[in-house]
Structures are given as structure tokens and as C-alpha cells.
């Protein structure tokens, strides 16, 4: 049921917003051209959320949650921004960012796995901590060395962002789909004690998952900085909420033990189209509605989230909504 539901919502949104805010089409090629640009924009714009959604799906599968993603991306971007924007940026700042990202992820993993802190509290703490570190590194400044780096801009354009997203999804999907690793983390999320008795190295797996999140946060930081070209200590606050909503909308259970990457992909696209569509419909809204249409975004976000999860629980009995159940264990 889930399989057609998400694309259906997406299609419905697209139709609605094209009717309200889109241009009038005179020919088929015009129509195709419009949507090619449209999706290029959407994909480039939501690349960070897509990448983070990928990591968040993994974490939710282990029955964890990572509230610190927004701060993590911001901190990585802030640290990279404090390097001078020259050609050597590629082999100084970028590896430094990567190392930092893996370290931050590992720190989360250690807190959750080794010290046994509930993930929501551990990452709440690190969310505040990492954001504080952003302020320590940046102060009130806003830095923008990224556009001076040769070749960096390319990452933010459609091609760069799309390649990154597709690589991440395809790579993760291909590696992930049949791997033992995936089944182990699903089992770990479903029942941690059983997983321990089954001989799964629980602590190591959890650390790996959080480090993977760190890696995706690094990629997201690259996409974000390449597109926005500047970063300040307060940028990207509230991103974690966006990511979690998208992932949950895509059918991943917050209690762990189930989730799908494709669902996350659609969840993120639905939110991005909603965002973009409401922006495009501003003129229509000013004429026809007594309030600003962009404010509707929050309402729809909340309603979509509840509707998505509710439908998810409804269709739970059929076993069709969880890929892991459907395929069974080979």
C-alpha cells in the first residue's frame, strides 16, 4: 500500500501546485522542459536533506534517533569555512571536514552504545554542544570562502548535487539491500537483547551506524556550502526536524526494526515539492486567501506526518509496507 501511496501523494502535490502556481503550457516540449528544470532545482535544493535522510533511516532502524544532525552539518561547514578559500582547500579543509564528521558521529555512537544513554537524550545533548562549538569557532561572523575554491561551485549545481545523491543512494542501496549488515541493524532495532544473544556485535554496529550518519553529514555539508556559498553559526538550525519528518513520512518506524531507503527518498521529495510549491503559489495565495500561504507549510507538515504514520500503522497487519518483512530472510 505504501508503495503507491507516497508517489501518489507526490503526484497529487505536483498537479495541485502546477495548476495553482505553474505557467500555462502551450506545447508538450514546454511541459517537459519545465519539469526538467523543476526537478533539477528540487533535487539540488534538497540534496542535504536527502543525504541526511539516508543516515537517519539507518539510525531509526536501530531504534535510535539523531537530533544533532543540523548542528553537526553546521559545525562541519563552520570548520571548513575557517580554512582560506584557495585551491589547496581540497586537500586541507575537505579531509579535515571528513575527519571531523566521522569523529562527531563516533562521539554520538559512543555515548549511545558504550555509555547506554538513550539516543534521544544523548543526541539532544550533542545537538546543543555542537551548536555551541559552531558559535565558538565562528562567533557572529559569516564566512564565505567556498566560492573562491576552484571547482567547488560545481558541487552545488544540479549535476554535482544529483551525482552525489544518486551515488549515495545507489551505493548505499546496492551495498545495503542484501547485506548481512542491514539485517543485523534491523534485528538490533527490533530487539536489542535478542541481537546480543544472537552474537551480533551490538556496540560496534551502533557506532558504525552513527559514524555513517557523520559521513552523510559531511556530504550534506559539502552540498549545502556549495549551494549557499556562506555559512554562519546559526545556519541549518531546525534541519533535524525536517529530516526526521521526511524519514518518518517515508515509512520508517521510530521504534526501530523497519525502514526503507526508497521511502525516505519519496518522503524528502514530498516535503521539497510542498516547500517549493507553496513558494510558487504565493501570488495566488495573496489574491485568494486571507493569510500568507507560506504559513500553511507548518500545518501541512504536521498533518502529513500524522497522516503518514497513521496509514503506516493501519497497513501494518498486511506486512506489505515493510520491505524487510516482505522479502523475508533468505
Amino acid at each position: 500500500m505504501r508503495r503507491w501511496l507516497l508517489p501518489a501523494i507526490l503526484l497529487l502535490e505536483l498537479m495541485l501546485f502546477t495548476i495553482i502556481g505553474g505557467p500555462a503550457f502551450h506545447s508538450f516540449s514546454e511541459f517537459v522542459g519545465y519539469f526538467r528544470n523543476y526537478f533539477g532545482d528540487i533535487l539540488a535544493q534538497s540534496a542535504p536533506v536527502l543525504l541526511l535522510g539516508l543516515g537517519m533511516t539507518l539510525i531509526l532502524m536501530t531504534a535510535g534517533i539523531d537530533l544533532s544532525v543540523g548542528s553537526m552539518v553546521a559545525l562541519i561547514a563552520c570548520v571548513m569555512a575557517s580554512f582560506p578559500g584557495r585551491y589547496d582547500f581540497w586537500w586541507t579543509a575537505v579531509p579535515a571536514g571528513l575527519a571531523l564528521a566521522l569523529g562527531l558521529g563516533l562521539a554520538n555512537g559512543i555515548l549511545v552504545a558504550l555509555l547506554d544513554i538513550p539516543p534521544i537524550i544523548a543526541t539532544l545533548g550533542t545537538m546543543i554542544l555542537y551548536r555551541g562549538l559552531c558559535y565558538v569557532t565562528m562567533g557572529d561572523l559569516e564566512k564565505a570562502p567556498f566560492m573562491d575554491v576552484p571547482g567547488y561551485e560545481w558541487l552545488g549545481q544540479f549535476s554535482g548535487a544529483a551525482i552525489m545523491v544518486i551515488l549515495a543512494f545507489a551505493g548505499a542501496g546496492q551495498f545495503f539491500h542484501r547485506s548481512r549488515w542491514r539485517r543485523e541493524i534491523l534485528m538490533l532495532g527490533g530487539n536489542r537483547i535478542a541481537a546480543r544473544y544472537a552474537g551480533i556485535p551490538v556496540i560496534r554496529r551502533i557506532c558504525q551506524v552513527y559514524m555513517a550518519m557523520g559521513f552523510f553529514a559531511f556530504l550534506a555539508a559539502l552540498c549545502f556550502t556549495a549551494r549557499n556559498s556562506s555559512v554562519s553559526a546559526s545556519s541549518l538550525s531546525g534541519l533535524e526536524l525536517h529530516v526526521i519528518v521526511a524519514v518518518v513520512l517515508g515509512g520508517t518506524r521510530v521504534q526501530g526494526g523497519a525502514g526503507s531507503l526508497m521511502g525516505t527518498f519519496f518522503g524528502v521529495l514530498i516535503l521539497a515539492v510542498l516547500d517549493e510549491g507553496l513558494r510558487g503559489a504565493a501570488a495566488w495565495g495573496d489574491q485568494h486567501l486571507p493569510f500568507k500561504i507560506s504559513h500553511l507549510q507548518y500545518l501541512l507538515l504536521g498533518a502529513l506526518l500524522i497522516a503518514g504514520v497513521w496509514l503506516n500503522t493501519k497497513s501494518w497487519g498486511h506486512g506489505s509496507c515493510t520491505p524487510n518483512r516482505k522479502q523475508g530472510d533468505q
Binding site: 537524550i121 545533548g125 554542544l129 558559535y135 526536524l241 526526521i244 486571507p290 504536521g302 500524522i306
Partner: protein, 324 residues
């Protein structure tokens, strides 16, 4: 009476927090330069920390049951917007206060009912509420305030009584009532039971849905008071930015106070001490002349440090519990 009601582990945490608070106060007293007095610090603490403490009390009861409310900041924003709308239409101050309180109370209750009806985890419902209520506040302001452009100004001093004049007294009264309520009432025990094991509660013949609603009902009262004080302390209500991140501050205070985030264990006193601890910590940083940029680092490190230490120390106990 009290001794049987909280575990040894919680008593430990309370003692640590109490000692921590005194240490912080002592250091603040030591650092105060001439021109400021220690009495002033204490007198200012009550009103400043009142919204956090009240919201933390409300959330504590909810977390007892194993539920959580992430939407408290957004609920406060809706209450504030309703308050602002009434003020901009020139309503009587007392009507504004009552409306503000009732809005927050009703929304908290709505959360509780939705969790019961839809059978969705509370974290999802209130995550949705976090976005939904903020949007609701913005749209309400758009609809009801002519020429709304982002903020509703409340300049008239007549509208600031609860926040500026009586907040300390309200806080004191609520603390006394909450303390007695926790020590002698049945409801908190039921919430804790629900948080410990929903299955056992049902088998014991308790109506779990009703207990959950009850927790949100009482939590809503505290939250309503918190909203009232929060809203009447500021000069303008700005729905898009007001109280951003407030829920994290409150959750931080609650978990610092030893309440188990998954329910079944905790105390009101711990949450109050936790809120005061975080407040005095920031105050200390200001008096010590530490750059304001380090505030968040220290807050985050403190939350992780206290809870990490605690979880690490009790790890063995938890592992043993898993085996049985």
C-alpha cells in the same frame, strides 16, 4: 512517606543536584563584584527561571507515563498569539490572561487525546504538533490582527502583571502545591505505573487511556501557567521566532533531574532542581566573564556529562535487568 516513594537512585541524583546548586551559588557569590548583591541574584532567579520550571513540572508528569511532549514551545506560541490578538483588540487584561492559560491547557489536552485515539507514539504526534501549532499561530495572527507583519506588539504595562510582578509568587505557590501533590496524591503513582509497564496496568484493571489523558490534563495546567508567565514577560509576540528551542531546555532540565525519559521513574523535585541548576550554570558563566559563545557548549556538555556518568554507573544494573 516520601522515602518509600522514590528510589535510592533518584535520591542520589537529588542530592547531587542540590549540592551542585549550592556549589554554583557559592561560586557566584564569590565572583560577584561590588555593585551587585547576592540577594539580587536570588531574587532575580525566581522570575527568570519560572517558565522553565513550570513547563518542566508539566512535562515531568507526562514523561512519567512514558509519553513525551515535544510541542510545548509551539503550544506556548499559540497561547501567546491568542493573548496578542486579544490585546490588539483591546480586551480586558484578565480576559487575556485566562484565554492564554486556557489555550495552552486545551492544546496539551488535545495532544493527550490524539495519542489515545490515533494510537501513534507520542513523540510523532507532538513532533507533528511542534510544526502544526506554530503554523496555526502564524495563520491565526494573519487572520485576526489587521496589518500583521511578523510580530504583535504588547507595550501596555497593564498586560504584563503575571510575568513581571507576580511570577515569583506564582512559582512559589505552584512549587508548594506540586510538592504536596507528588507526596500525597494517587495520580502521579498511576502515571509512573503506566510508564513502567502498560501491560501490567491493563492487567491490573486500570484504564490506561484515562491515565494518559489525566497526565496531559495536569501537565496542561502547569504548561498554561508557564505560557502565561512566558508570554507576559516579553514586549512583543513574534509567532515565527518566539520560544524556539524552549522544549529542549525544558527536556534538558527534566532528564537532568533524574526522570527516566522512557517513563516509570522520576520526581518533580528533580526537575525543579535541574531547571535551577541549568539556570545558575549560565548565570555563573556570565559572572565569570566567560564569552557568551561558550554558554551552549557548557550546557550541552553538562547534560551529556551528568547523564552519561549516571548511565555509565548504572550500566551493570541495566544489563542484569535485561537478563531476567
Amino acid at each position: 512517606m516520601i522515602q518509600g516513594r522514590i528510589s535510592r537512585f533518584l535520591v542520589q541524583r537529588l542530592i547531587i543536584l542540590l549540592a551542585g546548586n549550592f556549589v554554583l551559588l557559592a561560586v557566584i557569590g564569590f565572583l560577584i563584584k561590588d555593585g551587585g548583591s547576592f540577594a539580587q541574584v536570588l531574587a532575580r532567579a525566581g522570575p527568570n527561571v519560572a517558565p522553565t520550571v513550570l513547563a518542566a513540572l508539566g512535562l515531568t508528569g507526562i514523561i512519567f507515563t512514558g509519553a513525551i511532549d515535544l510541542s510545548i514551545a509551539s503550544i506556548i506560541v499559540v497561547a501567546g498569539t491568542v493573548f496578542g490578538i486579544l490585546v490588539s483588540h483591546g480586551a480586558n487584561p484578565s480576559i487575556c490572561y485566562v484565554a492564554c492559560f486556557l489555550t495552552a491547557w486545551c492544546l496539551a489536552l488535545l495532544n493527550g487525546c490524539l495519542i489515545g485515539v490515533l494510537k501513534i507514539p507520542s513523540i510523532i504526534i507532538t513532533l507533528a504538533g511542534l510544526a502544526f501549532y506554530r503554523g496555526l499561530a502564524l495563520i491565526l495572527a494573519d487572520l485576526a490582527v489587521p496589518g500583521f507583519s511578523g510580530n504583535i506588539s504588547v507595550q501596555d504595562e497593564a498586560y504584563h502583571a503575571p510575568g513581571k510582578l507576580y511570577s515569583g509568587r506564582i512559582l512559589l505557590a505552584v512549587l508548594v502545591v506540586a510538592g504536596l501533590w507528588e507526596a500525597f496524591a494517587k495520580s502521579p503513582r498511576r502515571w509512573l505505573a503506566l510508564g513502567n509497564s502498560e501491560e501490567a496496568c491493563r492487567l491490573a484493571g486500570l484504564h490506561t487511556g484515562k491515565i494518559l489523558r489525566n497526565a496531559f490534563f495536569v501537565g496542561g495546567i502547569f504548561l498554561g501557567l508557564a505560557a502565561l508567565i512566558f508570554v507576559t514577560r516579553v514586549q512583543s509576540v513574534e509567532p515565527a521566532r518566539m520560544a524556539l528551542g524552549f522544549e529542549l531546555q525544558v527536556i534538558g532540565a527534566v532528564v537532568l533531574g533524574g526522570t527516566n525519559i522512557f517513563g516509570g521513574e522520576g520526581s518533580y523535585a528533580g526537575s525543579v532542581l535541574g531547571a535551577f541548576f541549568l539556570y545558575f550554570l549560565l548565570e555563573l558563566l556570565i559572572y565569570a566573564g566567560v564569552s557568551p559563545y561558550f554558554q551552549e557548549v557548557v550546557t550541552g556538555a553538562m547534560i551529556i556529562g551528568v547523564i552519561g556518568l549516571d548511565c555509565g554507573l548504572h550500566r551493570q544494573r541495566k544489563m542484569l535487568e535485561e537478563l531476567t
